[in-house]
C-alpha cells in the first residue's frame, strides 16, 4: 500500500513504441524523497556522461513528489529533468498548472522518456493506461491549437496537456514545454529535446486518488500551513502577482535593464504590476491546489498588440521583454508573452537573446545586413515582438538568436563576449547580483543548470528578504550581514539557502511557500509534519535536509561527469564593473572567489575542483557517484 505516492514509474520507449510500468522501491525512494532527488539518481545512473542532449540516447524524466497533487498548499508542481541542449549541464524545469497532480492521479510518480519516434507522436496516460499515438496532424501547430485539438480528439476537457510549439519542433535551444496552455517548464531547452524525439505532447488524466496515511493528522498539518501562510512576508505576490515586483525592484535599483547595463528603468511605471492588474487582468488563476493564485489571466483587447486571453506575463517576463530590451510598452510585452507561450519559448532566454542582439547592434557587431534591414534599437516593442516570431521559426536573424547568448557571442567574436550575460550558457534571469544580494552572485555561479535564481531557491531570501526560512536551527548564520557584504560568510549561507530550497524540489513543491520564518511560510519542519502524516514515514526536518543534500550533490556529480568544475563557476565579466547609475550606482561583485571557497568548504567539496569529496559522497550513501 502506498501513501502520498502512486508508487509507480512509467518507462516509455519512443524508438520501440513500447512502455513498461515499474514498481518503485520504498526504501530507495525515501532515500531521495522523490521528484528531482529521485530523478537525479535515475539520470545519473541511466544516462552516461557525454551523451548529446538531442540524441535518441538522451533521457527525460517527468517527476512528481510526495506533496504533488495533495492539499499541501504548494503541491501544484512537477519537474522535467534532463540534460540541457543549451548548457550541456543537468537541467530541471519546474512547472505548475494541473499536469503534475493529474499525472499522479493517473497512477504514476515518474515518467521516463527514452529513444526517438520515427514520426511525430504524443503519449496519452490515463488511469494507469498508456498509449503512444500518432501526432503528425499536430506537428506545426502551436501550443494552444495542439491543446484544443487533443481535448477534442480525446473527448475529455479535463485532460492536462504538456506540449511543445513550433520553437521546440524547430530546435530552438531554449524552447519550453508548456502545460495547460500557459504554464511553462521553461528553462534550458526541454522543448528542443521533445522536438528531437518527435514527441509533440504528453497528455495526462486520472481518477485515482492519493491515499493519506494519517488523514486527521494530515488535515491538522495542512490547516497549520494555511494559517501560517496568512502571514506570508511577500504579500504582494498573491495580491498583485509576481509582476508586482517590478515597481519595488526598480525603486531599489535591482531591476536589470538594457542587458544588465544598468539596474533601474525610468519608465517602470508604464509596465508596473499595478497597471497590468488594473488594465489588462481578466482574473487571478491558481495552479492546482494552490491557495495563493499568483497567476494572472490577461489580454490586450485591440490594437497592433492584441492577444486572446492568456496566462501571464510574470515578473521575469515583464523585465525580460521590457526593461532588459528597453521596452516600456506593456501591450507589446503581453503580446510577446503570448507568443512565447503559444510557440513554446522560455521568456527569459528569449528576452536576453533579444537584448544581447540589441546591444550588439548598438555596438555595430550586428548590422542591417544581418537583420534584413530591421534596426534592433533599444526600446522598440514592435521589433521585440517580431524577433520572438523569427526566433520560434528560426527565420532570418532568428536562427542566430535561437542558439542563445553564449553561442551567438562565440560567432560574433571577442567584442561581443563582454555583452554576453550568461553562466554556463544559461541566460541570467531578472535579478541583479551586484545590488540585490551577494548570495545571489554565489548562486548564479554554482547553480547546476547555469545562471539561475530559482533552482533550488531564491538566494536573496536571506539578506534581501531578511528571512531564515526555518534554517536557524540548522545553523544558518544570523542575522544577515547586509546585501553588499562579500565576506566568506556569504558562501556559507548559500549552503543553507540551497539545501532548504532543495527540500521543495525533492517534495514536488512550489518554492514560493518556503520564503519566510516559522509562522509565515512552510518551513522544513512543517514540511516534515505534512509529509509524515501523508506518507506515514515519520520523516524529520533533518532527514529532509539529508535527502536534499543527496540530490544537490548528485546534480553536481552529474555536471562533473560532463566536464564542469570550479573553473565554470564564474560570472559574466560585466558584474565586476560598477552599476553606472540609479539607486544602486557603484555596486559590483569583487570577491566571488573567497565566497566560493567558503561555499565549497561548507558543502564538503574540494576547493580546487569544486567537486564533492569522496568522503562526502560516502557519508551520503552515494558511493556510485565517486569518480
Amino acid at each position: 500500500m502506498w501513501y502520498g505516492f502512486a508508487g509507480k514509474l512509467l518507462r516509455v520507449n519512443l524508438t520501440s513504441g513500447e512502455f513498461k510500468v515499474e514498481e518503485l522501491d520504498k526504501n530507495e525512494l525515501r532515500k531521495y524523497m522523490g521528484c528531482v532527488g529521485y530523478a537525479a539518481r535515475l539520470l545519473y545512473q541511466e544516462m552516461p556522461g557525454g551523451i548529446d542532449p538531442l540524441a535518441p540516447e538522451a533521457k527525460v524524466v517527468l517527476a512528481t513528489g510526495a506533496v504533488t497533487g495533495t492539499l499541501c498548499p504548494s503541491g501544484g508542481s512537477y519537474e522535467v529533468c534532463y540534460k540541457s541542449p543549451l548548457t550541456g549541464t543537468w537541467n530541471q524545469a519546474r512547472s505548475g498548472g494541473a499536469f503534475g497532480p493529474k499525472l499522479k492521479y493517473a497512477g504514476f510518480d515518474f515518467v521516463v522518456i527514452e529513444g526517438k519516434a520515427e514520426e511525430p507522436v504524443y503519449v496519452y496516460i490515463h488511469d494507469g493506461e498508456v498509449e503512444i499515438k500518432p501526432a503528425k496532424h499536430l506537428w506545426g501547430l502551436n501550443v494552444e491549437e495542439t491543446t484544443d485539438a487533443l481535448i477534442r480528439e480525446l473527448d475529455d476537457p479535463e485532460i492536462s496537456v504538456a506540449a511543445i510549439g513550433q520553437a521546440g519542433e524547430n530546435g530552438v535551444l531554449y524552447a519550453a514545454l508548456i502545460n495547460d496552455r500557459g504554464r511553462a517548464a521553461g528553462r534550458g531547452g526541454i522543448g528542443a529535446v521533445f522536438g528531437s524525439k518527435n514527441l509533440k505532447a504528453v497528455v495526462v488524466n486520472g481518477r485515482g486518488g492519493i491515499k493519506v496515511a494519517r488523514p486527521k493528522e494530515f488535515a491538522e498539518a495542512v490547516e497549520k500551513a494555511e494559517q501560517w501562510l496568512k502571514n506570508y512576508p511577500f504579500g504582494s505576490i498573491p495580491s498583485l502577482g509576481t509582476v508586482g515586483l517590478v515597481s519595488l525592484n526598480n525603486s531599489l535599483g535591482i531591476l536589470p535593464t538594457k542587458n544588465f547595463q544598468t539596474a533601474h528603468f525610468e519608465k517602470a511605471d508604464q509596465i508596473s504590476g499595478e497597471l497590468l492588474n488594473r488594465k489588462y487582468q481578466i482574473k487571478r488563476r491558481a495552479c492546482y491546489g494552490c491557495s495563493f493564485a499568483c497567476g494572472r489571466y490577461t489580454s490586450v483587447g485591440s490594437g497592433k498588440f492584441a492577444t486572446p486571453p492568456m496566462e501571464g506575463p510574470e515578473y521575469e517576463t515583464v523585465d525580460m521583454l521590457g526593461p532588459i530590451c528597453g521596452v516600456a510598452d506593456l501591450e507589446a510585452i503581453i503580446r510577446g508573452n503570448y507568443l512565447c507561450n503559444v510557440y513554446g519559448l522560455d521568456t527569459i532566454s528569449t528576452g536576453m537573446s533579444i537584448a544581447f542582439a540589441m546591444e550588439c547592434y548598438e555596438k555595430g557587431l550586428l548590422t542591417d545586413r544581418d537583420t534584413e534591414g530591421m534596426p534592433l534599437r533599444w526600446g522598440d516593442g514592435e521589433v521585440m515582438v517580431k524577433l520572438v516570431e523569427k526566433i520560434a521559426h528560426r527565420e532570418g536573424i532568428g536562427a542566430l538568436l535561437a542558439q542563445g547568448v553564449k553561442r551567438m557571442a562565440e560567432q560574433l567574436g571577442p567584442a561581443a563576449e563582454e555583452a554576453a550575460i550568461h553562466v554556463k550558457g544559461l541566460e541570467l534571469p531578472a535579478h541583479e547580483p551586484r545590488s540585490e544580494s551577494k548570495v545571489l552572485a554565489v548562486q548564479y555561479a554554482v547553480s547546476p543548470r547555469g545562471g539561475c535564481h530559482m533552482h533550488p531557491n531564491w538566494a536573496s531570501t536571506w539578506d534581501f528578504g531578511q528571512l531564515d526560512c526555518g534554517m536557524k536551527e540548522f545553523g544558518i548564520p544570523w542575522p544577515p550581514t547586509g546585501m553588499q557584504d562579500e565576506s566568506p560568510q556569504k558562501g556559507v549561507v548559500y549552503r543553507y539557502v540551497a539545501l532548504q530550497g532543495e527540500i521543495s524540489e525533492i517534495l514536488g513543491a512550489c518554492i514560493f511557500y518556503s520564503w519566510g520564518t516559522e509562522g509565515s511560510c512552510i518551513t522544513p519542519q512543517l514540511y516534515a509534519e505534512i509529509v509524515s502524516a501523508l506518507t506515514g514515514w515519520d520523516v524529520t526536518a533533518a532527514e529532509l535536509m539529508t535527502a536534499a543534500e543527496r540530490s544537490w550533490n548528485l546534480k553536481r556529480c552529474f555536471n562533473a561527469r560532463e566536464g564542469f568544475t570550479r573553473k565554470d563557476d564564474k560570472l559574466p565579466g560585466r558584474f565586476a564593473q560598477a552599476i553606472p547609475d540609479g539607486p544602486s550606482a557603484g555596486a559590483r561583485v569583487e570577491n566571488l572567489d573567497a565566497m566560493l571557497d567558503a561555499y565549497y568548504e561548507a558543502m564538503g567539496w574540494d576547493r580546487q575542483t569544486g567537486l564533492p569529496a569522496p568522503e562526502k559522497l560516502r557519508e551520503l550513501g552515494l558511493e556510485f557517484a565517486i569518480n
Binding site: 493519506v212 482574473k283 491557495s291 497567476g295
Partner: protein, 153 residues
C-alpha cells in the same frame, strides 16, 4: 432559518482545494474525482465551483427511498445502507452534482458536512460560502442575473 451553500464564481481561482478537502473529509484520501463539489476549470479563464442546491428532486425518484432530507441542515443525504447504486438520482439531477462512487458503489452527494462544510471552511478566496438562507438567496439572484445579463462594453 438554516444556512445554504452559495458560490461566487468571480472569486474562484480554480485551485480545486475544495474538491481535495471534500474527498479527504469523506474518504480520507485526496481525490478530486471523489468529491461532492465540482470545480469546472476551462479555457479561457472559466473557473466555476458547482455545488448541490439541495433541491430534493432526487428524493422523489429514488426507487428505494435511500435519499432523505436531514432535519437539522435541510441537506439531502444518502442512506448508504439502503442505496443500491442504481443511479436514477444521477440521471435526474439537473445540476449534475450526484455520482455513484466507484469504490463504495452507492450514490454520493454533498451533505453539507452536517453543518460545517469542509469546502467552505478552506476556500482561500471566499468563492464558496455557507450563509443564512435569506442572504444566500439574495446573492444567488444577483449572480444568476449578472451571469445572464448583457454585458455593456
Amino acid at each position: 432559518m438554516s444556512k445554504v451553500l452559495v458560490v461566487d464564481p468571480s472569486l474562484c481561482t480554480g485551485c480545486h482545494r475544495c474538491e481535495m478537502w471534500c474527498s479527504l473529509t469523506k474518504y480520507g484520501e485526496i481525490n478530486p474525482s471523489r468529491s461532492n463539489v465540482y470545480v469546472i476549470r476551462r479555457e479561457p479563464a472559466v473557473d466555476v465551483p458547482v455545488v448541490c442546491m439541495q433541491c430534493g428532486l432526487c428524493i422523489d425518484v429514488c426507487p428505494t427511498g435511500a435519499l432523505k432530507r436531514d432535519g437539522a441542515t435541510d441537506a439531502v443525504v444518502v442512506d448508504e445502507n439502503i442505496c443500491t447504486g442504481c443511479g436514477t438520482c444521477v440521471k435526474v439531477c439537473p445540476y449534475g452534482v450526484l455520482r455513484v462512487d466507484e469504490e463504495t458503489e452507492v450514490a454520493a452527494k454533498c451533505d453539507l458536512c452536517s453543518g460545517s462544510p469542509a469546502c467552505v471552511n478552506h476556500c482561500p478566496h471566499g468563492a464558496l460560502r455557507y450563509e443564512d438562507a435569506g442572504k444566500a438567496a439574495a446573492r444567488r439572484r444577483e449572480i444568476w442575473a449578472m451571469a445572464h445579463g448583457v454585458r455593456i462594453r
